[in-house]
């Protein structure tokens, strides 16, 4: 059985930079040009100062594992388990966390505070930001 397709985000004007930035190797977050804070999930305004002067900003794509779980339940037919679902805190974007998968290593090698970097997985024009361990 072929692995199932990942659930596909419905693109809109606000989330498109996040879900398609990987085409240029960019992890885009919504950043305020006035106060410098990030708004994630993205909005058409800054959730810190309500400025509408927000735009996509590419962050380094590195971070650390904030928390995680090893998922054993196949939520879709053909989904290979186990795999790691993690929350990554991103370098250079204080207060922003991404739910993601940690890939390219055995699940038992994943731990809190591990340093990770983004690796994009493309599927029909969506660039899913997954993460792998650094070093």
């Amino acid at each position: 059985m072929n692995p199932p397709h990942r659930p596909r985000p419905r693109l809109d004007s606000v989330n498109t930079p996040f879900w398609t930035g990987g085409a240029e190797g960019k992890l885009n977050l919504c950043k305020c040009a006035d106060c410098g804070e990030f708004t994630h999930p993205p909005l058409p305004l800054c959730r810190h100062c309500q400025s509408e002067n927000v735009a996509p900003h590419a962050v380094a794509g590195t971070g650390e594992i904030d928390t995680y779980t090893i998922n054993h339940q196949p939520w879709a037919p053909g989904l290979e388990v186990p795999f790691v679902i993690a929350r990554v805190r991103l370098d250079g974007a204080p207060g922003v966390y991404l739910t993601t998968n940690i890939v390219n290593c055995p699940v038992e090698d994943v731990d809190f505070d591990d340093k990770v970097q983004v690796v994009f997985e493309e599927q029909d024009g969506i660039f899913y930001p997954l993460f792998e361990k650094v070093g």
Binding site: R6, P7, R8, P9, R10, D12, N15, H40, P41, D66, T67, Y68, T69, I70, N71, H72, Q73, W75, A76, L79, P82, F83, I85, A86, R87, G95, V96, Y97, L98, T99, T100, N101, F112, I126, Y128, L130
Partner: protein, 388 residues
């Protein structure tokens, strides 16, 4: 009985099962009728209806019945009704009703929560699951990574607790073991718990999402649970000892499961005690939302029954939270033992215990104060219930 207060005057519940053939509207009416009989009220005295989250057409099993349907089916002459998901959590529906009767908008409100998730899965023709091609809203930030279930979201809070405070699986297991033990004494839990869970069975069961094994997750259930909320100046119409809604709280900081460090139980728990003269020491029993086993631990800590981080050690061995312990928890079996009643089971049981109607599972002494909670992740709601 104070006029400007709200009371729970009746509780009721339908048959609780898995893949029940009975129509969910009929299950709802079964629960309504039991609650009316319990309160000594008749339908013509009901003038309000409230539910959570209201009918959800895209996933009928999750919420197959709306408050307007109950008004229509029972011929209620309603002066106030409500059903909405955009509020802190399931038991916020009871809180809304309490506010409505305090405002004088109505006198006796049927609050209900009907679930038909097992029955709907078994009958996709009548209850089609809408499977959208795309995900949007909050789920777009989790589902694309197969974090589709709240089990995976909640598991990450539990993993953090283990990492930071040293909670062990053996400690966590006490939530499910306690639930199973209590469910064995609850006749309405027979379809969900048939034999008592052992630690060995727990530790060897299959993993869902670490640290949660199968027994740490509630299961789809078909049932309806009703709580009748009455105005303080309408108590002469009821025939039982009412239970006062002594305080309520609810909070949402971020409407997001992955942008908050801990579940909202901490803030909601703290807030509850700012609205009453009661303290945690006065509480005789707690009924804490346990859709996943870690959640009651957040409520124990959030409401100050133990320090933050001490929840695992607080429940170690299970004697403290047992039905004859110092703080009986989920005496009906919780959702883990008695089915995914989705929040309302906790209020139902708190009232049952405060009235001494728990039968075989009745806690000892003369309980006067209980806490019932609902929610998980970034949303939470709590009720303080008192027989005073």
């Amino acid at each position: 009985m104070a006029r400007n207060e709200a009371y729970i005057t009746g509780v009721g519940q339908s048959e609780v099962g898995v893949r029940l053939p009975r129509h969910p509207l009929l299950l709802t009416i079964d629960a309504v009728n039991e609650a009316l009989a319990d309160a000594g009220l008749t339908l013509d005295q009901i003038d309000g209806v409230c539910t959570y989250p209201g009918k959800v057409p895209s996933f009928l099993g999750f919420s197959p019945v709306g408050s307007d349907e109950v008004i229509e089916a029972l011929g209620i002459r309603s002066k106030w009704h409500n059903g909405a998901m955009e509020q802190p959590a399931q038991l916020s529906a009871v809180g809304n009703a309490a506010q409505a009767v305090k405002e004088g908008l109505c006198r006796h409100v049927i609050c209900f929560r009907t679930v038909y998730e097992a029955g709907a899965m078994a009958n996709p023709r009548e209850y089609p699951m809408s499977r959208p091609d795309t995900v949007s809203g909050p789920s777009q930030w989790t589902s694309p990574f197969w974090a589709i279930s709240a089990a995976c979201w909640t598991a990450q809070y539990a993993m953090r607790h283990m990492h930071k405070y040293g909670m062990t699986r053996e400690q966590l297991a006490q939530i499910a073991l306690n639930a199973s033990r209590n469910a064995m004494k609850n006749p309405r839990a027979r379809a969900i718990t048939r034999e008592e869970l052992t630690l060995d069975k727990y530790m060897s069961s299959r993993m869902i999402s670490t640290p949660f094994c199968l027994y740490d997750c509630d299961r789809f259930t078909d049932a309806s649970t009703v709580v009748i909320v009455s105005a303080g100046d309408a108590l002469d119409e009821v025939k039982v000892e009412p239970v006062r809604i002594a305080a309520m709280s609810g909070s949402v900081d971020r409407y997001s499961w992955d942008q908050v460090e801990w579940p909202a139980a901490y803030e909601t728990g703290h807030d509850l005690w700012t609205r009453t003269d009661y303290t945690a020491k006065d509480v005789d029993t707690v009924q804490f939302y346990d859709g996943f086993a870690f959640l009651p631990i957040t409520w124990l800590e959030g409401l100050g029954f133990c320090e933050k981080g001490e929840g695992g050690r607080f429940i170690e061995g299970g004697t403290r939270i047992a039905s004859d312990g110092e703080l009986p928890l989920n005496t009906f079996g919780g959702q883990l033992g008695a089915g995914r009643l989705h929040g309302f089971g906790f209020a139902h049981e708190a009232v049952t215990q405060l009235r001494g109607k728990g039968g075989e599972r009745q806690i000892p002494g003369d309980p006067k104060v209980a806490v019932a909670t609902s929610g998980g992740g970034p949303m939470a709601a709590a009720l303080l219930l008192a027989r005073d």
